[in-house]
Symmetry: C3
Subunit: 442 residues, 3 copies
Amino acid sequence: MSLLKEFERRDLGEIGRDLHDFAASLYPICRSITGSGIRRTLAMIQDRIPLRIHEVPTGTPVFDWNVPKEWNIRDAYIKAPDGRRVVDFQQCNLHVMNYSIPVHATIPLNEIRPHLFTIPDHPDWIPYRTSYYKEDWGFCLSHNQLAELKDADYEVCIDSTLEDGQLTYGECYVAGRSSDEVLISCHACHPSLANDNLSGLAVATFLAEHLSGRDLHYSYRFLFIPGTIGAITWLAQNREASERIRHGLVLTCIGDAGGFHYKKSRRGNAEIDRAVGCVLRDCGESSEILNFSPYGYDERQYCSPGFNLPVGCLMRSVWGTFPEYHTSADNLDFIQPAQLARSLRLCASIFDVLEGNQSYLNQNPYCEPQLGRRNLYRSTGGDSISIEIHARFWVLNLSDGEHSLLDIAERSGMPFAAIHDAAELLRENGLLKGIVGVEKAP
Amino acid sequence: MSLLKEFERRDLGEIGRDLHDFAASLYPICRSITGSGIRRTLAMIQDRIPLRIHEVPTGTPVFDWNVPKEWNIRDAYIKAPDGRRVVDFQQCNLHVMNYSIPVHATIPLNEIRPHLFTIPDHPDWIPYRTSYYKEDWGFCLSHNQLAELKDADYEVCIDSTLEDGQLTYGECYVAGRSSDEVLISCHACHPSLANDNLSGLAVATFLAEHLSGRDLHYSYRFLFIPGTIGAITWLAQNREASERIRHGLVLTCIGDAGGFHYKKSRRGNAEIDRAVGCVLRDCGESSEILNFSPYGYDERQYCSPGFNLPVGCLMRSVWGTFPEYHTSADNLDFIQPAQLARSLRLCASIFDVLEGNQSYLNQNPYCEPQLGRRNLYRSTGGDSISIEIHARFWVLNLSDGEHSLLDIAERSGMPFAAIHDAAELLRENGLLKGIVGVEKAP
Amino acid sequence: MSLLKEFERRDLGEIGRDLHDFAASLYPICRSITGSGIRRTLAMIQDRIPLRIHEVPTGTPVFDWNVPKEWNIRDAYIKAPDGRRVVDFQQCNLHVMNYSIPVHATIPLNEIRPHLFTIPDHPDWIPYRTSYYKEDWGFCLSHNQLAELKDADYEVCIDSTLEDGQLTYGECYVAGRSSDEVLISCHACHPSLANDNLSGLAVATFLAEHLSGRDLHYSYRFLFIPGTIGAITWLAQNREASERIRHGLVLTCIGDAGGFHYKKSRRGNAEIDRAVGCVLRDCGESSEILNFSPYGYDERQYCSPGFNLPVGCLMRSVWGTFPEYHTSADNLDFIQPAQLARSLRLCASIFDVLEGNQSYLNQNPYCEPQLGRRNLYRSTGGDSISIEIHARFWVLNLSDGEHSLLDIAERSGMPFAAIHDAAELLRENGLLKGIVGVEKAP
């Protein structure tokens, strides 16, 4: 049975609440590209799905890069002369610039200012900043907070460590009948940001859970990795596995109220691009297909020219285009249970296309077969025919060995599920045969 | 001389009246996919053109089908207790469901109701229904008629026979210089329906008449056949002839007041598709090109994947999209002399393209030849040039052996006739040569 | 340094005034396709650039044509009975139909009328007429002038000669490192017409001046020729050189206030077509790309099927579409210094694309190289990246040996200059290598 159909028998509202609850449980953790935050995150994902955790030592060369030092943080604050913490990491982990080196000093506000980041246009919001590859320290705060600071000497403290250690990532492999793989990749390196991080993590975790134990054609590999350096590290250490990737999706920003956006792979017309296009066309939500560009999430690495993998990026609102992006306003209210659930279901529909897409041969290619005597047609002439019968005609007409079911769905304008169901029915009735050597069905 | 030009010398109004008169003479006959109705129809066509009549016995296997029993009907009615015929086949042959098995009984209205068909949205119209492949009986009547029937016992009588016999179809072959064929196919199995049947029969008959005795490149095969089973039967029994079909048109619903619609062949870019597209572009009537779909008229069979013939379907209003379709309102008022005549002329233009389309070689390919000294150019500079001279430049520029005249008409946006005339003139002046081996001209 | 960048360091206003002054100095000359007018024009161009003057004798066969007789004119007028010149060549050289044979007679107005040309819709303007290949004589005058002529005998005098002589054209060759050529062609045969002639002559002359002495990849050939017969003559006598033409532009009507129009070469997707398309897309002025058609300027000859050279035509307003075309209103007010200068700059941008377009190989094709440690990236995460950094990502991503910089500019939607600068920077940093054997850089 198709993944989508099984979804339709479950309570989507409940699935949405579960997804949101899971995101909420991950929300408080101060993640970064290395360190205990991502480790704890992966452990919580591991509670739900069989996750293999990998640790790669600092300094390991990965293509043009080296695995960076491991960063950990216990506390950080700016303390006013009266002893009050005016900026406090314990209240919000965005307050410290991610990867800040340790600092502890009492210095006048003027000297602190170059290390302070705010968003004047949204004076209540705290920005999210990082400095992974240039050693520096900084605090992020709301513009209102900054405005209240008077000239004085403040105690600044960042109780962090930046030392040789490990880069940590998680990998969940759901084996199918074929060793050909579908890659699902999401970054797990952002601290308390909900849409840009947790939405992807939650949906990917639930997808892996949903696929486990099923009879699948493809094997599915889920990566929970730090952005950029994680994808580079995985690719550097898994050249062989990367060659088995037939289709892939980067999942991110998939929980907000916006319509879907799909950024195509560098190839532009890969099967994953067409599959997502077909599913979005019929999904009933607003959606837009974007051309590939070499900036964004980890599709940057998967689609680098040496790999050129068929990996696209599925989003709702596009990163960088909504004001809440990379601010404290990307919080648990910004992602919604219903949207998370519908994103999950959409991914299932996409996998249905990948799993079900193959080519058949019409066994009666000369004229139409007589559907009526097989009870595959209406009996009284004069009325229009149903969508189901239309789909049968399309499948019969184009099953010449040169058209896949996805081709037929595209050309007919009919949902893939309708085309796939028609093909199954025709196959059961002996009117179609799968092309030998390429059958996906068990 | 071109077919179109000859048309332009005749009175289109008169041609339209002749077409309508011919349709009117066929209108009263109760046609079906077999039986005396189609036989009589073919005999009347035979009065105008040399038609070869074929009879294929019931039970003959044709691909996945068998030729059905032959159906004939003499009378049918529903008689009220007072002896009055409340539904009477003699008044309108649509009243009986086509292919109804014989029945004669007096039964309460309640038991008759499942066999009655009406159109509640158009309470004055009688629907057209068939049940070819499921043995059944029924009556079609206006919704108003039905409303007046009171609960009582009625005498229902269908005096029909459904017995072993023949499937009958007609074929008119107009020989050209080449054995390559143009197929024109229309169904002849609908009873008193004007646009959906008679318009195509009339236009095809007049086309065959118009082509007879001409010096033609292609041979033209006109089929007057029962829908679906007729096309299947012809294809099953004429595999060799089917391989000679280079272009084809199904003609139907070609007499109503709507603009033209052309449904492309399965190939989508066959020469016939491009020829019709070019002619419609310049025909001065509204028109729309539709993509192929595997449901419709007999293009379904010609375009089945085993044949995949370059056969499209030319219509005015598209079947199933106008309310009169398959009802008593598709009557002789619904088709119009002027539209029939313009449809006929359009077909002639299409044949002109097929007949005249070939490639030439510019004999002076280096720079333009000096048209002026051949009196093929205006003499005084400064003004714009005429369409005729424009067409000469286009033909000269693209006659490199890789562009046909149809290519040139498409690329230049100029009517095919203008391009063809220019090519003829240039050829007569020694500036072009037909490519050896592919010349269509006699 | 790019041609465009050097332009940006100069005063565009001053360049515009120089261009207009040069056009103004050429304006009074009565040019024709042969004779002293074009000779004097070429001599004035020769004052600025090294121009080789060619003279081809009358009667020389050039493909399907022969070089015509040489035409020269000293004076022409229509004199009223009172001795007043009512039409006077000395006031405006458009008054005489170009290539008029000599005539001197006193005849009644009625007999003169067939030789008089006016523009009733623009009663103040004098039309421009020619009769190169049909021996005839005529006068062009304003419709108002004609209206004032009373019936009487007038002395008509055209003091011209049409005798065996020469066809004259000029050629300026700017040698680059490669013998591959870029052709720039403009006609020099129109008398006092500014946009349709002088704008192209001025821009081409200044372009040749601008290119001289530079280190260039391509060699540039500038042709200043009589329209049609000049191009035919050059092609007939330079078959070998014509085979070295890799890209070409016909320049005409390039000084008026309209937006740019580029008519593509017959090939439709030649590199010159794409280069101009890319430059126009980003030029900040309105512009339109037109498909090739076989009528127009000398692209007609360069794009004849035997040559099929990649030569397009760059214009502002399209010849024949503006009312001033081929009238006395196409005067020095109709062309504007600013437009001439921007046309010149646009041509420089086009040459920049041709000169700079080549393919590179990303030396780190597996994942992105770490731009940060090479100071090619911003240092703090969280903000968007600059256009310059975007361009670097595009160049790295698509430099797989199958995409040229022009491909990348087209696909990215970024200006070619930004893409080219990024490629240079990446090459200097060792991240790109030019593909051996196709490098254009010195």
